[in-house]
Amino acid sequence: MARQQTISNKLVWTVLAWILGATIFFPILWTVLTSFKTEAQAISIPPVMFDFDWTFENYETVQERSNYSRHFWNSVVISVGSTLLGLLIAVPAAWAMAFVPGKRTKDVLMWMLSTKMMPAVGVMIPIYLMVQSAGLLDSKTALVIIMMLVNLPIIIWMLYTYFKEIPGDILEAARMDGASLKNEIIYVLTPMAVPGIASTMLLNVILAWNEAFWTLNLTAAKAAPLTAFIASYSSPEGLFYAKLSAASTMAIAPILIMGWFSQKQLVRGLTFGAVK
């Protein structure tokens, strides 16, 4: 009896999990499907799910019209560059806060997080002017720096949480073993925090990849990443849903594939510390 109950319990949870997963995934699936429809099929009422004439014409049009590879490269440089730069700053910062906390460490952490609570548009003009006077409008350099700053609180917070889980004894052992602070971080702390750092990196790359405020506002032609590529297919006057879907699919495909292959790391990293 009890065994039967656990089996049916398990079944219910599995079904619920699948329903939830499917619900979350549905918009992405719909976008991908729409990208293979004609514009007329894309808006047909009632909508068609699979039963349509599959076509690649939207992808061809998008290829012809846009320089996908340039946008793609810009996205890669901005998301990966900002993440690496962020880690360079965040690892020592999180180390200090996790292992040598001061009286105000908690306040500093909260303050950093509070900067994320302000709507970005509130600092739009000052930052725009700063970037402009530095002569960095429409440059990848500016976006790498800005995206790094935007996500730095999150990187530091995540790393801080991971570092807190590392026993202080081991770091003291390294110190006793003659490791300088630099070597302690390089040889002991960082390798031990690899799962945490990896998932922080992945999450941050995804966040930077999808960021669509600064990347749109601080770029024009040269440094515009894939967010701008998508935005160029959105139109209030004219139905280009299929082409927009094709552009969106092309923009999210790389990050989706990356997420798929690293999901083990991601899940492990995101639930790190949640289950003790």
Partner: protein, 434 residues
Amino acid sequence: MKTIKKNLLATALLSATMATAASAETITVATVNNGDMIRMQGLMADFNAKHPGIDVEWVTLEESVLREKVTTDIATKGGQYDVMTIGTYEVPIWGNNGWLVPLEFDVSYDVDDLLPAIRGGLTVNDNLYAAPFYGESSMVMFREDLMAKAGLEMPKAPSWNFIMKAAKEMTDKDEGIYGACIRGKAHWGENLAFITATANSFGARWFDENWNPQFDSAEWSDTLNFYLNLLNRYGPPGASSNGFNENLALFQQGKCGMWIDATVAASFVTNPKDSTVADKVGFALAPDNGLGKRGNWLWAWSLAIPAGTEKADAAKSFVQWATSKEYLELVASKEGWANVPPGTRTSLYANPEYQKVPFAQMTLDSINAADPQNPTVDPVPYVGVQFVAIPEFQAIGTAVAQEFSAALAGDKTAEEALAAAQALTERAMDKAGY
């Protein structure tokens, strides 16, 4: 002597460098994503052949994003763009602020050929601040088959009463057909554009000559009640969230008897590739109430050069090319007359080839029926047909648009929406110091 020689040498070197710099000049053009603009990007070979020294980089963006970006850029003299695509709303304001370079073209451009209504909307203090790339108005698109089935005939210039009657006769909710598809989505560029243009034909106006808001007038009450009745009775369900694209989809799917919207839609609904009703569409002028003003708007996507650019000459060469008579002929020769950007030049409409395009005359008549300098029955202090060309309008307009959309959704009565609109407009105008 020696110094002079040295100076000469330096000057020579300098001009040589400048020449190379000029030959590699790249200008950045910000534009919206619409068919005519995209088409131009495919025809750049012609421009490159005529101006080998100028490379053009395109930045294509969604309208609201574009507006936000170019506004930031021009207000901060960012200099990211050398040519901007802006509308008739921005030109008077930005021209007045000195943010745009006044455009003077040589004789071959034939500036007097521009349609007077369009040119008027782009001129500030006798200076032309933007060159029209395409112009549009609004008109009635209707299903000829459904009109015949209802036993009615659409006049060339219908009245609002006729529209109400025709909508009633064409509606067949069992079949999923709705007489009137009209914008209801809350935004100054969506529902408010339609309602403001309609209000003009009802004799209403946004402000009197002393900038006092007029939403408490009987004319506004008539306008809004008419709009609500038309849509509540004969409009599609959920009309309060429909904008241009949603109505276009409905019309192309055969769900609408009539659709009153931008003239640019004509080429979409008559395109058999996308539209299921392509061969059944008729056109008529936007309706009126016999007061001398029709309910159509006027808009022109135009190319302007921001005052911050360092490449004004190259930018001007581009603007001249893109808005010239020759460009229209270029499009016609490559893509056919139906795809020529409409609504900018008198000569286009005099061309017998272009007159064969089904919606050509209707577009011209619609544009000519709108006058941005004198948009209303009673005099007003502002420029603009479906908008008021003051910087505060985007914010006020969207707030008012939300009130009207709420009334359409049934959350408010027409009177409550108008009272709220009046109050918020008064407050905003007070604050702005009018």
